[in-house]
């Protein structure tokens, strides 16, 4: 059994705090020999914004030809999908928001065309992980990002209850998260628990 993990690193800044958090989770996942990880930095993914044309409601596909041609299929194939983003201006950064808006094609498939996103036997066997960092130390700094994250996972057939969150505030300068008292340990624990849960579900 191979467990397919697909990870979108959403920060425009490479190897910054949110990507470091993602890397810690992935490192703990990949310790398991059955796990295969693909990490996609969105800076290199060539994903255009959604044009709002609604053509996918009729065509069941997007009329744009770009990186989403590849990631559309990978999103369906993956057992676990991670997304990391910094918080900019109290919301998710623009790059991951572009990815989230482009999964509209799955929404059209699911709710307009009433077609399955994943085969019925795989439903409930996919998990999501959202990772975020913020410079601000406010407790509510992640609140506005969550509805879009839930929307993203919902339309790709990952249920609300199957999304894990690890969100670290008060880390701003590059590398600040390395000095955070619990972030690395929490990320490591999260990676392991998600893989353990997936194995349980896939075996069932």
């Amino acid at each position: 059994m191979t467990i397919k993990v697909l990870a979108f690193a959403g920060s425009p800044r490479r190897n910054g705090n949110s990507e470091m958090l993602l890397d810690w989770v992935l490192a703990s996942m990949i310790e398991d020999p059955e796990v295969s990880v693909q990490k996609v930095p969105l800076t290199e993914a060539n994903i255009n914004i959604c044009r709002g044309c609604n053509a996918c409601e009729k065509l069941n596909k997007c009329i744009q030809r770009d990186g989403m041609d590849i990631y559309h299929d990978k999103i369906i194939e993956a057992d676990c999908i991670l997304l990391s983003s910094p918080i900019y201006c109290m919301g998710i950064a623009a790059l991951p928001k572009a990815l989230i808006d482009r999964v509209q094609v799955f929404r059209s498939r699911k709710y307009v065309l009433k077609l399955p996103v994943v085969p019925p036997e795989r439903r409930g066997k996919r998990l999501g992980v959202f990772l975020a960092t913020a410079g601000q130390d406010w407790g509510h700094v992640f609140d506005a990002a969550i509805p879009s994250v839930k929307c993203f996972y919902h339309v790709i057939d990952i249920r609300d209850v199957d999304i894990s969150y690890l969100m670290i505030n008060h880390v701003d300068e590059k590398g600040a998260i390395e000095h955070h008292p619990t972030a690395k340990a929490d990320a490591t624990r999260l990676g392991k628990s998600v893989i353990a849960e997936l194995k349980k579900r896939l075996a069932a």
């Binding site: 201006c89 950064a93 808006d101």
Partner: protein, 201 residues
């Protein structure tokens, strides 16, 4: 000096529900005698914020494209109306990409302390968010407000009002909504009168 109103359309879809609602607001403002400008983000060329934090050192954005000149126009306006449809429970990536580029204003305010909006500046500058959503949920706009708050406050605007219309899927478009376009027109008229009074004081 007359009241200046700047409308920014953050919808990738031209002349759709959100832009039509913005147009109605701007029409109201124009009828009240304001000088009105409209910018469509789709026609501009700008990249998202790179998160490089260079602006934290000198208050300038190192990316030279259409975003900083638009922020200059924002800073010169009395009223700023920003419009975006709700996509996936938030503002569009197009508008978010622009808002994030205002980081250099935030840096001027809070890191370098070279930008200050003294006294009653904020109450003399009104920011209005205009939006539509396909969904019928009352909370469908909630994820949008905090980023608009960030934009308005960083640029010196009081977050004055929202003009929002949900359930577009059901109505089959803003033109069939019973009140939204009239409300937007009335609010455009009203905010200009309020700003005229403030300016006359």
């Amino acid at each position: 000096m007359g009241v200046t109103v700047l409308g920014i359309s953050g919808s990738p879809h031209r002349h759709g529900n959100t832009e039509t609602l913005l147009d109605s607001f701007l029409e109201g403002a124009r009828s009240a005698g304001a000088s009105v400008d409209k910018v469509v983000l789709r026609d501009l060329n700008y990249s998202p914020c790179k998160g490089c934090n260079a602006c934290h050192k000198d208050g300038e954005c190192i990316v030279k494209d259409d975003a900083p000149p638009l922020f200059d126009r924002i800073l010169a306006a009395d009223c700023l109306a920003v419009a975006s449809p709700i996509y996936s429970m938030g503002i569009t990536a197009q508008l978010k990409g622009f808002i994030d580029r205002g980081q250099y204003l935030w840096a001027r305010k809070f890191v370098l302390k070279t930008l200050d909006f003294p006294g009653d500046h904020m109450s003399r500058h009104k920011g209005i968010f205009i939006s539509t959503a396909g969904q019928d949920w009352s909370h469908v706009f909630d994820g949008a407000f905090p980023s608009l708050t960030a934009l308005f406050h960083d640029a010196g605007f009081e977050y004055y009002d929202n003009i929002v219309a949900s359930n577009m899927d059901e109505y089959k478009g803003i033109k069939n909504h019973p009140t939204a376009l009239k409300e937007a027109y009335a609010k455009g008229l009203d905010v200009v009168r309020v700003l005229e009074k403030i300016k006359a004081q």
